[in-house]
């Protein structure tokens, strides 16, 4: 029998291998949220090794991006981590702004922070409720999805779409926050604390949940750094690396927020870190809304700032320039940059090499999900199958981000 997991150099003798059974988990499986395959080698109930196969949803984003002008790539970034699309969109716009050397106004920065923190709340709501579902607690999931519907309604006010938002422009937004949008955000910020408290009462000090998640799927800080973990998974292991604090972008340095850090790197720590990050996001949104500065919601980036629609429909030059921008007849300096934002899963990086043409010469997405999912076999060796399921759902592996 072929020794699976050869790269982890298990010291298995021939005798051992005869007693072990293989169990195929996926690619279609209710517990794998997304399609990726794990073949587990099991000694009874204990997992001895795992071999992973990904690529079942490889959509060749990086090759597509070499053919698309800069605005059309925003729609690709939507579909990376589709639970929190606005963070990907704004991250991409920040990368293009870094390429062009554009400074945005404070109002734009604060609006972006509000949208990104809403997206972060949406993603963490999914991840935490799904940890509950995988351990048998379905109620939290249903309660929490109502709040996601409210967040979707806010996205609809801002950009028209629910999930794949394609939100914003290079240099800001295409429209200001309408009064309806601000009203909805304020209403949500009033509701959300009560729902989060209810959700925590169900799970966080629940004896069964704690028994199922404490000391399950742990990883030490050294191994996590060696695997290039980022985001809540790394912070649960004890390392306080957050791109918003290390290299502040979009005026995050104006805000005072706590970066939660865990101790053991196990499933319970990841759950608690995400929960605390949601509370911090609520504080940040309230803060940003209360202190939203006056100003323009866009920046006059030549060749990227689309003219207002009334002018496009009535005058000649705005019509021509609108057409040229959307079709990509624009000048971009010949540079290469790396720009990172703190996505819901960690450091989402964009490495853009531009040769001055209408499309990037090379675009590489540094996808946190792809990088930390490698550590999964190491995290589950020695635990049981049900622990492996919980570890996988607490790591928040999103298939779109895995395969790109």
């Amino acid at each position: 029998m072929k020794t699976i997991n050869s790269e982890h150099h298990l010291d298995l003798t021939q005798e051992d291998e005869k007693h072990y059974s293989t169990l195929n988990l996926g690619p279609t499986h209710p517990a794998t949220h997304g399609i990726f395959q794990n073949v587990l080698m099991m000694n009874g109930e204990t997992i001895v090794g795992a071999e992973q196969t990904i690529g079942y949803i490889h959509r060749a984003f990086e090759k597509i991006a070499e053919r698309r002008p800069y605005y059309q790539i925003t729609t690709l970034t939507d579909r990376l981590n589709y639970c929190s699309s606005p963070i990907n969109n704004i991250g991409w716009h920040l990368a293009v702004e870094k390429l062009l050397g554009v400074e945005t106004s404070k109002r734009v920065d604060y609006m972006r922070i509000i949208v990104m923190e809403l997206a972060r709340i949406a993603d963490h709501l999914v991840c935490n409720s799904v940890i509950g579902v995988d351990s048998g607690a379905l109620t939290g999931f249903v309660y929490v999805f109502q709040e996601r519907e409210k967040i979707y309604e806010i996205y609809e006010e801002l950009c028209g779409a629910r999930l794949t938002t394609n939100l914003g422009r290079v240099g800001g937004f295409d429209r200001d926050f309408s009064s309806a949008a601000i009203q909805k955000i304020k209403a949500l910020m009033k509701r959300l604390p009560k729902v989060l408290h209810e959700f925590e009462n169900l799970l966080m000090r629940n004896r069964i949940f704690m028994d199922r998640t404490i000391n399950v799927g742990g990883i030490s800080a050294e191994r996590a750094l060696n695997y290039s973990f980022a985001g809540p998974n790394l912070r649960a292991a004890g390392v306080d690396y957050d791109v918003r604090v290390q290299e502040p972008y979009s005026s995050y340095s104006d805000f005072d927020f706590v970066v939660p850090v865990g101790q053991n790197g196990d499933t319970y720590d990841r759950f608690c870190v995400r929960q605390t990050e949601m509370w911090e996001s609520i504080k940040m949104i309230n803060n940003a809304l209360a202190n939203l500065p006056e100003g323009k919601f866009y920046t006059d980036v030549p060749s990227f700032n689309l003219p207002p629609k009334q002018d496009v429909y009535s005058k000649m030059e705005p019509l021509i320039s609108h057409f040229k921008m959307v079709m990509g007849e624009i000048d971009v300096p010949k540079k290469e940059i790396y720009s990172a934002v703190e996505g819901a899963n960690g450091e989402l990086g964009f490495y853009v090499v531009s040769d001055g043409g209408r499309t990037p010469y090379r675009l590489h997405f540094r996808r946190p999900g792809f990088i930390y999912y490698q550590a999964f076999p190491e995290m589950i060796t020695g635990s049981s199958l049900s622990d492996a399921i919980l570890t996988m759902s607490s790591m928040n592996v999103i298939a779109g981000e895995l395969d790109a």
Binding site: G34, Y56, I57, R59, A60, Y82, R148, R162, L163
Partner: protein
């Protein structure tokens, strides 16, 4: 006395013989029972899967239509809901899952990627699942709103409610499955 050659026998009009006549009310009764208790298999691969999760949630509630019990095992499912992009690596898996389902089975392709490859016209994406399995209803959208998914589901319900009982054993149906490369050896009863 009666000369049989003087009488001509007229063919009964369609619907008054065969499966159209004797079994109409039975067809409708079975269809009614089936359509209000479909057990879907959510084959969610990407973004459309998240919209499906919203459809199953309390706001849009697919459970009202009888689809409360999701089955992740194809052996117990009626309806294969393919939601999201299917890459070429995944195509044999879709076909295998389809073959494991028992008749009568329906397929709904949710989203632009499942219907036709969507925005991903690349070397690695299957341009529509109807290259590997026969599809009954296509729901366009990227991703489709939950109301659209429910609309697609209701169209499937229409199909289920009006389906003749012997459709799955007819030679045309078998020929269609053969054209996809799906074996129909056990379809004789």
């Amino acid at each position: 006395m009666s000369d049989k050659d003087k009488y001509t026998v007229v063919e009964a009009p369609e619907g008054y013989s065969g499966s159209g006549f004797f079994a109409t009310t039975l067809d409708k009764a079975v269809g009614l029972a089936r359509k209000n208790s479909m057990w879907p298999l959510p084959f969610a691969t990407s973004c459309c899967g998240i919209e499906f999760m919203a459809t199953m949630g309390a706001n849009y509630d697919l459970g009202r239509f009888g689809a409360e019990r999701l089955s992740f095992s194809p052996r117990q499912a009626d309806l294969l809901m393919v939601m999201g992009t299917i890459a070429k690596k995944m195509a044999p898996v879709v076909q295998q899952i389809y073959e494991q389902m028992a008749e009568p089975r329906w397929v709904i392709a949710v989203g632009a990627c499942a219907s036709s490859g969507g925005i991903f016209d690349t070397y690695s994406v299957l341009q529509g699942i109807d290259k590997v399995v026969p599809v009954d209803v296509y729901v366009p959208g990227c991703p489709p709103r939950p109301e659209q998914i429910i609309d697609g589901f209701m169209k499937i319900q229409e199909l289920v409610g009006n389906e003749p009982l012997r459709r799955r054993y007819s030679p045309e149906y078998k020929a269609m499955l053969e054209s996809y490369g799906i074996k129909t050896d056990s379809y004789d009863k």
